[in-house]
Every structure is written in C-alpha cells, then in structure tokens.
Symmetry: C2
Subunit: 215 residues, 2 copies
DNA sequence: ACTCACTTCGGAGTCTAGTCCGTATGTTAG
DNA sequence: CTAACATACGGACTAGACTCCGAAGTGAGT
C-alpha cells in the first residue's frame, strides 16, 4: 500500500481478460486441429469443436466466423511451414523445373496426407467470401508462393534471357495458375500423384519455352 | 370404337407415368431457372423452388440430388449455348489470341451477367462431389472447351510449327488451366473485366512463345 | 372391376451451421 | 468496497438443405 509505487496489487490478475481470451483461443485451436486432422472436415461438427474446447457454440463463433475459418486457422500453420520449407528448398534447385518442384513438394505432401482438408482449404481460398483474418492469411500464403515463382523465374532469367515484351510478374501469375490447378487436382484425388512430376515438368517446360518453335 | 384397330382405348393415357414425370421435371426446371436468374443462388431456397414448381420438397430432391445440382441443371443450358457459340466464333479468328478470345467471349458474358450463379457453377465443377447427371454434363462442357483450345492450337500449329517434344493435348490443358482460372476470377469479381482482353492476351502469348528467349 | 406389386409423392422430421440476447465476468471510477 | 460500465460468454433458437416413410397413384394380370 505504499502510495507512490505503481500498481500495488493485482499485478498478476491484471489483464485477466486478455489471458482468458488467449487461453480460449488456444483451446479452440487445439480442439479444431485434433478433430480436423483426425476425422476430416465434413465429419467434424462445430458442436464437437466447441465441446472439446469447452466453450459454448456462441463463443466458438466469436473466435472464428465460420467452420471454414476454423479450418483455415488450423491449416494456415501447416501451410506456413510447408511454404517456408518449399521456398528454402527451391533456392537450391539448379533448373527452373527442379526449383519449382522443390517449391511445391511440401504442398503436395500435405495434399496427399489430408486430401479432404486441403481441398476445402483450396476451395475457400478461391471461392470463400469471408472477410476473416484466417482467410486473409491463407491468401497471403498463396501470394508468397506466387512470389516465389516470380523469384525463380527472375533467377533463371539471368542465365537465359527473358524474351522481350514479357512481364515477369505476369508470367509468374500465368505459371502459378496452372500449378495451382494441379495442386487442386491432387487434393481432389483426380490425379495420380505419381504422374505429378512428369505433368508439372511438362507444364513448366511449355511455360518457359512456349508451345511454338521460334519462326 | 372399331374393334380390330390397335389399342382401342387409353391410347392417350398410356405412359402416363412417364408423362407425369416429364411434366414435373419441366415445372421444376422452369421454377429453378426463373428463381435462380431472378434472385441469385443464395437468395433462393429449395422450398421456394418446390413451391413454385408445385411439388413437395421430397419430390424436388428426387429430380435433383442437391441444390447445386439444381443450379447446374439450369446453367448447363446456358453454357451449352455459350460454348457452341464460342466454338463457332473461334473458327473465324485468324490469330491464336483472337480465336481464344472469341471462344471465351460468351462465357465471359455469362459470368458478368450472373456472377453469383456462375461462381457457384465453377465451384461445383471443381470441388463438387456429386455423382449426379447435371454435374457430369457440366464437366462435359468444360472438356468441350479444353478440346476447342486443343483444336485452336492444332490449327495454328500448321502455320508456325510446334516445338519438338511438346504434347499438344497437354499444352492445351496447361493453357486451359490458366484461362479457367481467369474465368473464375471474373465470376468472383476479383478482376476488372475491362482488363481481361489484355490479361488473356498476355497469358496466351506466354503460353505460345514461352517466357524465355531461345538460347 | 378388382387386386396386387411396384413406383412415385410429399410433408413432417432431422441435422447442423450460425445468430441472438440475457447473463456472467472482468475493469474502472468514486 | 460498491456501483456502473464494458466486454465476453453460451445455450436456446432459427434457417435451410436434405431424408424418411406412410400415402397415393399406376399399370398388369385375371
């Protein structure tokens, strides 16, 4: 109780609110992560997540604005790691195709391990209308990949010159659209993953050197 | 009433079952079409469709296995026309870019007219898990477009030879993935349609001639 | 005409994502 | 310490897609 000495009491309990919040946030994350990875998106109900996190459903939806956002919250973590890993690995590749394969390898791995979850993730990235923070982060992950493609193109452009009139950033987008579509096909099980290296190689080859022979 | 003259009675009512069915089918189609085009996918409830078609909800779902199939049933018609139109128009174009633009123009037009419906249509094509006949038809429409791209490539390959080692069918797929992604972006309003000709042109240019200059 | 096997119908009911609002809990002022 | 306020909570509730099963309709055989 010394008067002029800052907060005399409750220094521990101060910000209890923030801590409760962080705690709930954490419980929800853990609950969602274990349920989604264990059962897959469609088999999980929001009720299950709320129960396991020991919060009410009303509360659940103030931490994530929809079931899809909940999934993104969880997958963003995995994607963050996969992207970082891919970007690092891609720096070593010494042909554009190898670099791009190295970049995407971790993503492909994830898609094969959790097909349903990654398919929903991709679906939400493309078609979701949420404004929530988790979707925003997912979009950032995608941008990161697109930028990595641009970097790879730029790196190899030093060796073998870029054709005049080609905008590298635009070309990266062209290339990424194609590769993204392949990732989706893998998530959906539409494509035998063993065929993937060959398919990607063909895509990248066409994109780098074109369909037509120079006149 | 002459006795020996084929089916004496109920020649009209024969196959009443099939006709009832066709009739309901038709009522459902009309109801769904007017509601979806008038209000947009999300504002329409299956109950509204059932009511307007004057059938029960149980009945509705034996004619289309989900709300999304209902939409596809309706949009397949529009897509069929748009595709036919596009394919015809593309035969006139005298550069690959012009031909492809002509091919896709009707699709783009549809996307701008009914953004929500076409976005859902695209979403279901990519991510839908239904086995119903209407989704199958939608997939057929997409194949048709991909084939048309292959045809265009083949046509122009006569003039300016295809680079050795390039598989035309595969290249068509590469190209279509990119263009499909652009169509989706337009449906979703992510891209100013006025920028589209330029964007498509850039994509097609990269795909035909590649990013890199020949060594 | 009557019956029987079979198909189709339709609305009551189920399931689940997401909302609403009264209650509880933490925070600050006096 | 108490009052007044702000914020967070959570479960009853709603909405809407989809299912289920008893009822009704249909056509064949006699």
């Amino acid at each position: 109780m010394t008067p002029a000495e800052g907060p005399p009491r409750t220094p521990i309990t101060i910000d209890r609110r923030a801590r409760n919040k962080a705690d709930k946030q954490h419980r929800i994350f853990v609950a969602a992560a274990s349920l989604f990875t264990g059962l897959g998106y469609s088999a999980v109900t929001t009720q299950m997540v709320a129960d396991r996190a020991d919060v009410g459903t009303g509360t659940l939806f103030r931490y994530a604005s929809s079931k899809a956002e909940l999934l993104m919250m969880v997958l963003n973590e995995q994607m963050r790691l996969a992207t970082r890993e891919g970007v690092l690995a891609s720096e070593a590749g010494d042909s554009p195709v190898d670099a791009i394969m190295a970049l995407l390898a971790p993503q492909i791995h994830l898609s094969l391990e959790f097909p349903e979850n990654t398919a929903v993730y991709q679906r939400e990235i493309l078609f979701g209308s949420e404004r929530g923070p988790y979707r925003a982060e997912a979009l950032a992950r995608i941008s990161e990949l697109e930028n990595a493609i641009a970097d790879i193109l730029a790196r190899f452009a030093l060796v073998s010159r870029v054709r005049s009139g080609v905008d590298l950033r635009g070309a990266a987008r062209t290339m990424f659209s194609t590769l993204h579509m392949e990732l989706i096909r893998v998530s959906l099980g539409r494509e035998d993953p063993r065929a993937l290296p060959g398919t990607l190689r063909a895509h990248v080859d066409v994109l780098l050197y074109g369909v037509l022979a120079p006149a």
